[in-house]
Amino acid sequence: MRINGYIPIILVTAALAVVPLVSSSNTLFNFMVMSLIITLAAQGWNILGGVAGQTSFGHALFFGVGCYTAAMLQFHFGVNAWVAFFLALLAGAAAGFILGFLSFRAGLRGSYFALITLAFAELMRILANASEWTGGAAGLLLKLDPGLANMQFESRASFLWLALAFVFVGLVISRAIAGSRFGAHLVAVRENEDAARALGVDVLSVKLKAISLSGAMTAAAGVLYVQNFLYIDANIGFGVWISVEALLAPLVGGRGLVLGPLIGTFTLHGLGELTKSFAGRIPGIDLMVFAVVLIGVVAFASGGVLGLLRRFAPRLARRIAV
């Protein structure tokens, strides 16, 4: 383990952590909490879709599994929020494993895999909308009871730090994978499956590990969402919006790179908020900005923001190990 690779992660996290100390704007805090939740979901996507190259269009599946596992365990059984959180991680990993087992074993790749993930997420959305257990279309409302033990906080700053801690753990995991044999195997599977096989890589097993880990990380983002808003319904938990957010952020930030999801989310949502402040409350204006940014990335900067950095400031890029 080379400590150098972790320095940029520590610096970025520290920079975000001091924000509540120098500002007390609730708007800023809400923006940051939401961005961190999306970052975490996108970090999950990035392991499977970025590093291992298995593009998913249905990470809402894992986000929703995280949301509903945490919410239902607390709502129906009064399970402690932290216990519910760990069970939600397991549920996310299990959902990933099942989806992966069904699709990868059948040899689905590329757009076929993407469509299957979308189908599973939509299926769950419809089921969650119809079932009584999930509160149906009305959703589930959790009891407000602030306290560390309940993973709820009265101060926005505390929740921001909690979300940041989760993202930090996600960054450390991503960085550790990038420097490991498992990470090399993920990249090998992305670049050329046959060549990987010939070099002794068990492609199916690597993909299953990747999707399970990916599912758990995105489920963690779902838990954060529930603990923040204390409410969940099917269109939030399993909605297409989070599938899009989870995939857009790494593409804009730098697909497959450790800091890609974080930089992508803050770039996108920063621009979105900026536009809102200029253009006023035109509904959907931020989505239009996202579309423009995405077209720009696809057309001119396939490596995303970090790719641009690599091109125009290679020395700096090498220093922060992107």
């Binding site: 195997h185 990249v187 050329n192 046959d194 060549a195 096989r197 010939a198 070099l199 002794g200 890589v201």
Partner: protein, 249 residues
């Protein structure tokens, strides 16, 4: 016997690509597999490496039936293959490409990288470590293909036309590399069209034509086999050449 195949048959629908092919590769040898285009050589290689499940027959590894094993399991046993159409990890540089091979026996990153450097040096890629695989010359890619397979520290190396597309001087450069690999104890089984290399390197040669094994023996004896000459040059060619020889005598 290190590797043997017993009456391997591979059918794709109505097409029989390999028809009851049997062969034996002795430990420590360089064994060749030649044959006209479309004879089924690469298909037979794919069956040996586990990329295709044969319609019939068995693959034996040191006497054990490995027909049901997956490619990565065979790689773990010590069977490494190169691809006729090179399959580099395009987005990675040379060192990263080779390191994915060396990770097979060295789970620790530092050791895997050190091993990969040593292998790169050995096949003559020591100066291109940082270069993107996609920017290598044809000869460079062939060497990379060889290096990656070697980095898995195989007992048997399956080389599928590693010399194809190289110019004569590049071929002269790489022949000693292949011989040195064998001298280090790696058994080599190679598909090759470059006869200069086959004559130079191989102790034993198998000839596959239209999916069937039509000859085996030393390179010299195989080249004079009438069945082999006819497989390459057409029916009656052997007698015509013999008559030609007779006229000169």
């Amino acid at each position: 016997m290190m590797l043997s195949t017993q009456t391997i048959t591979m059918r794709f629908g109505g097409l029989t690509a390999v028809d009851q092919a049997s062969l034996r590769v002795r430990e420590g040898s360089i064994t060749g597999l030649i044959g006209p285009n479309g004879a089924g050589k690469t298909t037979l290689f794919a069956v040996i490496a586990g990329f295709l499940q044969p319609t019939g027959g068995q693959v034996l590894w040191q006497g054990r039936d490995i027909t049901g094993l997956k490619p990565h399991q065979r790689a773990q046993l010590g069977i490494a293959r190169t691809f006729q159409i090179v399959q580099p990890f395009q987005g990675l540089n040379v060192l990263e490409n080779i390191t994915i091979g060396s990770y097979l026996r060295h789970p620790k990153t530092d050791e895997a990288i050190a091993k990969a450097r040593a292998v790169a040096e050995r096949v003559g890629l020591g100066r291109e470590l940082e270069q993107q695989a996609s920017s290598l010359t044809v000869a460079g890619r062939k060497r990379l293909e060889l290096a990656r397979a070697l980095a898995t520290e195989p007992k048997l190396l399956l080389l599928d036309e590693v010399l194809a597309g190289l110019n004569p001087s590049e071929i002269r450069d790489i022949i000693p590399v292949i011989r040195a690999i064998r001298d280090d104890g790696v058994t080599i089984f190679m598909i090759e069209h470059v006869m200069q290399a086959v004559m130079n390197l191989c102790e034993e040669v198998y000839v596959l034509a239209q999916g069937q094994m039509i000859a085996e023996g030393t390179p010299a004896s195989v080249c004079n086999d009438p069945a082999v000459i006819e497989a390459y040059l057409g029916k009656g060619a052997a007698t015509r050449i013999a008559n030609l020889g007779g006229a000169h005598a």
